[in-house]
């Protein structure tokens, strides 16, 4: 019997096609209340008045929460990686993006909860919004974050992620041509078919059962426990079956607030985001701004790269510093470039905080690097397959931060596509392998970067 490598049907396939798979919204418990949120109507504003009493007094409303109800208001989701907290679970003094949650209501029906939210008395003093990452550094830019307009807490207290390798000045001096370009992929919605949803049931023994659509059960467990300041055994996350995520359900978007409502009401509470909330208030894939300048030779060797990245983080940091670091580690793409100078900033703007999405940090840089590669080929009138194969990383080459590649497949994947498309490669590129560089594939500029794959 061979099970690995076999085309086994999905473990949950029959359940999926018979409607028997239980997603969070399908769980039924008696006595359940519905939650609705009061969200910021402004991109940036001070909160000058917040009075929830008119909502709480409405018959059928069982709980209203604001920032005052949260035991630990700010918790850094990546505190283990040294990324401190900056985002309150519920807005306190100010709002920094349209859609930011300020207060939540739990009531007998969804309609009643919405009506109660309307009754909350709130006043704002609008502030100028910062939206263009390229203007965040300008002296006249509005100040929008307690840390300044860009993230200042990288290792060593640095305000940017840096990569330095080799001698960039020399590479640019030696270059025949310098090609410069700017790349700006858009913000994207995860748009899973199941919107953010959770159901929290207070148990008689004092525990909370949290039915969650999270992509990361233990991650969400830790986040909720931290905000609530309770040990892990007070919570049971029930999940594991998610109606699409794509990174957006790594954020613990609903679980903590719904838990607070359920505790306060002493009743089960469900919070199911509308599709409009999912589109307008849930985190997105970040928009990125990338500038690349490559020092190249006439025959297509890339001697060096200078790169500037501005990562539009939205209103708070969330996972952005992690994403930018990953981005920096991969800013040479599938190629070996020995001389590098990379500077990347996580920039705050008054838009919905951005978060992980499929290819986090790298989707952006793949677009920039690969479009740039095609441009270089065009500028130099070289074959776009062959310039890639020439610079492809090989066994023994090193990554931007000095890690030795032990078995890269850049060469065979490009060759396979050349064959599939019928793109004729010249003999030297057709027979190329990923074996360590020798002869014509080891020009002088690639010698110093070589590492020993055995020591990896």
């Amino acid at each position: 019997m061979k099970v690995v490598g076999a085309r086994i049907p999905r473990y949950d396939g029959v359940a999926h096609v018979t409607g028997r798979t239980t997603y969070v919204d399908d769980v039924r418990v008696p006595g359940m209340l519905w939650a609705k949120a009061l969200r910021s109507p402004h991109h940036h504003a001070a909160i000058t008045k917040l009075d929830t009493r008119p909502a709480a007094e409405l018959p059928g409303v069982h709980a209203v929460i604001t920032w005052e109800d949260v035991p630990l208001l700010e918790y850094g989701h990546l505190s283990a990686l040294g990324i401190p907290a900056d985002e309150p679970l519920l807005a306190k003094d100010d709002v920094r993006y349209k859609g930011q949650p300020i207060a939540l209501v739990a009531a007998e029906s969804e309609e009643l909860a919405a009506e109660a939210v309307e009754r909350i008395e709130i006043e704002f003093e609008e502030r100028p919004a910062l939206l263009d990452v390229r203007q965040a550094f300008d002296p006249e830019a509005p100040k929008i974050h307690q840390w300044g307009n860009w993230y200042p807490h990288f290792e060593g207290g640095m305000d940017r992620r840096q990569i330095r390798k080799g001698d960039v000045a020399k590479a640019f001096e030696q270059a025949d041509v310098i090609v410069q370009g700017v790349y700006r992929p858009a913000a994207i919605e995860h748009a899973p078919l199941e919107t953010q949803v959770c159901l929290v049931v207070p148990e008689p023994n004092g525990r909370l059962t949290i039915y969650s659509c999270t992509q990361a059960l233990y991650f969400s467990l830790g986040v909720v426990a931290a905000h609530l300041q309770v040990p892990l055994n007070k919570l049971k996350i029930v999940g594991g079956t998610t109606g699409g995520g794509f990174g957006g359900k790594v954020d613990t978007a609903t679980e903590t607030m719904t838990s607070l409502l359920a505790m306060k009401a002493g009743r089960p509470v469900k919070w199911r985001w509308t599709r409009e909330e999912e589109f307008l208030c849930s985190s997105t894939r970040a928009p990125w701004h990338m500038e690349i300048a490559d020092a190249v030779t006439k025959d297509g060797w890339i001697l060096g790269r200078k790169m500037l990245t501005l990562h539009d983080s939205g209103a708070y940091a969330r996972f952005s510093p992690y994403g930018l670091t990953k981005h920096s580690f991969h800013h040479t793409g599938a190629y070996t470039i020995p001389n590098l100078e990379f500077d990347g900033y996580v920039v705050f703007t008054n838009r919905v905080p951005t978060t992980a999405m499929r290819g986090f940090g790298v989707t952006s840089v793949s677009f920039a690097v690969e479009t740039h590669m095609s441009r270089i080929a065009d500028v130099l009138d070289l074959d776009p397959y062959e310039i890639r194969l020439r610079n492809a990383n090989r066994i023994g080459d090193t990554s931007p931060n000095g890690i030795v590649y032990t078995d890269p497949s850049t060469v065979p994947t490009i060759q396979a596509i050349a064959e599939a498309t019928g793109h004729e490669l010249s003999a030297e590129f057709r027979t190329m392998t990923n074996e360590p560089r020798t002869g014509e594939w080891l020009p002088e500029h690639l010698v110093a970067q070589l590492g020993n794959p055995e020591e990896h």
Binding site: R134, R164, Q180, A186, F246, S374, A416, I417
Partner: protein, 369 residues
Amino acid sequence: MAKHRGKGIAAIEYPTGMNQNGDPSQCWIKVKPDGRIDVFAGTADIGNGSKTIQAQIVAETIGVPYDWITYDNSNTDSSPVCTGTFASRATFVAGKAAEKAALQVKAKILEIAGKELEIDPADLEIIDGEVVAKGAPQTRMSISDVAAAATWGHGELITGTGAQLKPYAAIVDPETGRVDSPPHSAISYAACAAEVEVDDETGEVRVLRLQQCYDVGRAINPTQVEGQIEGGAMMGLGLGVLENCYPYYPSVEHRGGAFGSYLAPGMEEMPQIDTILIENPSQDGPYGAKGIGEMANNPQPPAIAAAVYDAIGVWITELPITPERVLRALEEKAAGKHEPRREGKKVVFDEELSVNTVSSGGIRFEVPA
């Protein structure tokens, strides 16, 4: 006015597991008295197929039929730690934890069987749910009987646990970005060729064909990995020509709040997709697998951008490549304004987008000549 066809290519790489690692997954397994296997893990199935993959890995590793496996990832009381289903880590990291737990179960089954058969466990193997003496296949005992013997005879519970963790790779020099150990578990590779048709009257870009090659390490379930790759291709197509939260970025106005106003790819946008899988096994993944779930939407946008250039001679480097952007670029080109600035050995594209143009004294991108 005409439709123009063009071709483009992109080659990419992508790491498996969280960047810098430090992301554990764990698994535990128990065996019922009739030999059926219960697997507990905290790995969410978001459609990626975690449940199927881990059940396959456990069945293969122990040597029992797939339908003997029950997989439970339903809650944090019964499951051990799993960092989660993201970072292309579910098959690779959580799958490895399942493999390790299954190896312990297998060893325990052989130990009990060894006592029952009075044979050194090292001389036993498991084939299709039966413990068989190596070189003497007539000496055998079903795993059902082994599990019964463990339960009712030896007073033992056959279990196994497994944990997979690659320690955190710290940045030891923030000036250079140097790390103290490899920041990834494995790297996967892919190449993609796109063929597009661009209508120079409407500006519409239609993706006709995507030919893709992925190094998946090992396809634990070939159909599942194909499904990931096809789904990723459509998401990459969306990134390339359709999707945008902020149609007039950086403005936050005119966001789409419905499927009718946010352009997720639909069935009518489906191109022809051809995929080649390369199996170049990884060192650390279960059965050599690598994680390709995320990278599946990375190579299409640049391949499409290059194909658009090939078709109509304009580089559009702000995504998505909408009809509006195509028509504006064609107008610029007709007015002779789309060419890069050439100065000495410098060829400078997209100056109007650069911080050097847009920032007023805040930040610059300096390039030596």
